[in-house]
Symmetry: C2
Subunit: 273 residues, 2 copies
DNA sequence: ACAATAGTGTCTGTCAGACACTATGCC
DNA sequence: GGCATAGTGTCTGACAGACACTATTGT
């Protein structure tokens, strides 16, 4: 094969540089510069249903984060984001998807690069660079075990403070303003992601990744409210969101009140605001 | 010193884990996971004055990008962003600032992390991860040589196309939609940065990094127009920007028309819109 | 009947877009 | 004087915030 390319470049003329470049590459010593350890940490967001006692009331929605408890040093027993070392033969996205597949058994979800964290002492072992990703998913798309596992933490706001409360064990509470409450700099990563989400939700269609294919407008509004941390007015919300969705013709039922129309996302017609 | 920490942790109780963690760290083999080569590329934006023939007219403002021509393989002779390999002992920001100091002789400017690029074949030598940074500066803050050098390219829009035109040699034109027109994936990096800037300019104070300490409102408006690529209406622009600036009491002079009041940035009173 | 949510109509104040107008220095 | 820009006043239409109102189910 090499001969063919040689020939082609020679025939197309002015190929001296290309030949020279190839010989340079052949003799390149990749160890000239010291390499760095790189990991990926994945911040997985979803929305939790908090079922209330009253049969009539709708479940309360909260933003939630998927964490795992570390089984090894460093930071043994502390809660941390899912993550893993980057294999030099994989893309960062491939590494991240691999981690999600192994930990949660999911292989399709929204994933976007968040930020690259490189504080010198973020890992006590050595200098490790972490490229953080943010994932959004609907809890119903998960296999049963990953959905029920006690690894989801609800984001609750207490004045200035932002707390993570374990869904199954409400007594487990992590304070994001205390960097020590999570392993590594994962408290920072979560805050960065939360911030990114709050900004982007206003001018992108990110919210639709957090609901099912068919959803009621109230559900969708709850997602916006959970992310922004404030109540919205229904008429205004519907005015803005209506151009982005279309009715499926289906309705909810058995909810102890007027049924709600189900909508689906109607693609990227235009920007939100 | 180790004895003291040992003692302290033992006295404070429940310190078994800490002792265990330290012994783990002491024996940790950092070569367990294969490492990766990492570089930083810095996308430096500024605004260029394009002086017109008419003495009365104001200079036309364009966004501009700082590029260097590669002297070595790979991509010898192609234009590329300033950048360099990351020394494992430095922060990414430190590496980036070092590059800027060496290349442009500047050591204070706005710098923000842009994105981490990791396409497998972005560098023909091997897998190299690049953490891209975006820098904003005012051309007047540069030492004379870096200001005049023919390394600045103006961003000009030609319909859908985005072109880079060398300031000193207008015949040198690079087409950003053609990935091959710049070294590595630097065309992508520039487009990503341009996009980021266009988004953030609307809800942040980034624009002020591109003008001098004292500036006229028309200058500031020109910056917004250059970034957004469209004309704005002066009255509306002034309404929005006025709360963010304060008059210095100084005025421009000798410009062949009515003098213009000079303003300065009045800190982060609140968001823009 | 009634609790609880679904969904719509409409008023109002704010603000961006638009245009017209006045102000001022330098050749 | 007149060119070119600086800077302001004000009208208008669009639209977010706000509230009131009607609709519909399961117990």
């Amino acid at each position: 094969m090499a001969h063919v390319r040689d020939l082609v470049t020679r025939l197309t003329g002015g190929a001296d540089k290309e030949v020279e470049e190839r010989s340079f590459l052949d003799s390149y010593d990749s160890s000239v510069f010291e390499k760095v350890s790189v990991t990926t940490d994945i911040l997985v967001f979803s929305i939790s249903d908090i079922t209330t006692t009253n049969y009539r009331k709708l479940p309360e929605k909260k933003m939630s984060v998927y964490l795992t408890q570390r089984t090894q040093f460093p930071f043994k027993d502390k809660w941390s984001l899912a993550g893993g070392f980057v294999n030099p033969k994989e893309t960062l996205v491939e590494t991240a998807m691999g981690v999600l597949k192994r930990k949660m058994g999911i292989d399709e979800l929204y994933l976007e690069q968040l930020y690259t964290f490189d504080a010198p002492n973020r890992d006590p072992r050595m200098r490790i660079l972490s490229v953080a990703y943010m994932a959004l998913l609907n809890r119903k798309d998960l296999p049963e075990n990953a959905r029920q596992e006690s690894l989801w933490f609800n984001i609750i706001r207490d004045g200035e403070k932002i707390l993570l409360q374990n869904e199954c064990h409400p007594e487990i509470i992590l304070d994001l303003s205390d960097k020590q409450s999570l392993a590594f700099d994962h408290a920072d990563i979560i805050l960065t992601g939360l911030n990114r989400l709050q900004n982007k939700i206003e001018y992108t269609d990110l919210a639709f990744h957090l609901v099912s294919q068919e959803f009621t407008l109230t559900e969708l509004q709850n997602v916006y409210e959970a992310i922004l941390g404030k109540k919205l007015l229904a008429p205004a919300f519907r005015r803005v969101i209506k151009p982005l969705v279309e009715a499926t013709g289906n309705f909810t039922a058995g909810s102890g009140h007027r049924p709600s129309a189900l909508f689906r996302y109607k693609g990227a017609t235009s920007a939100l605001s």
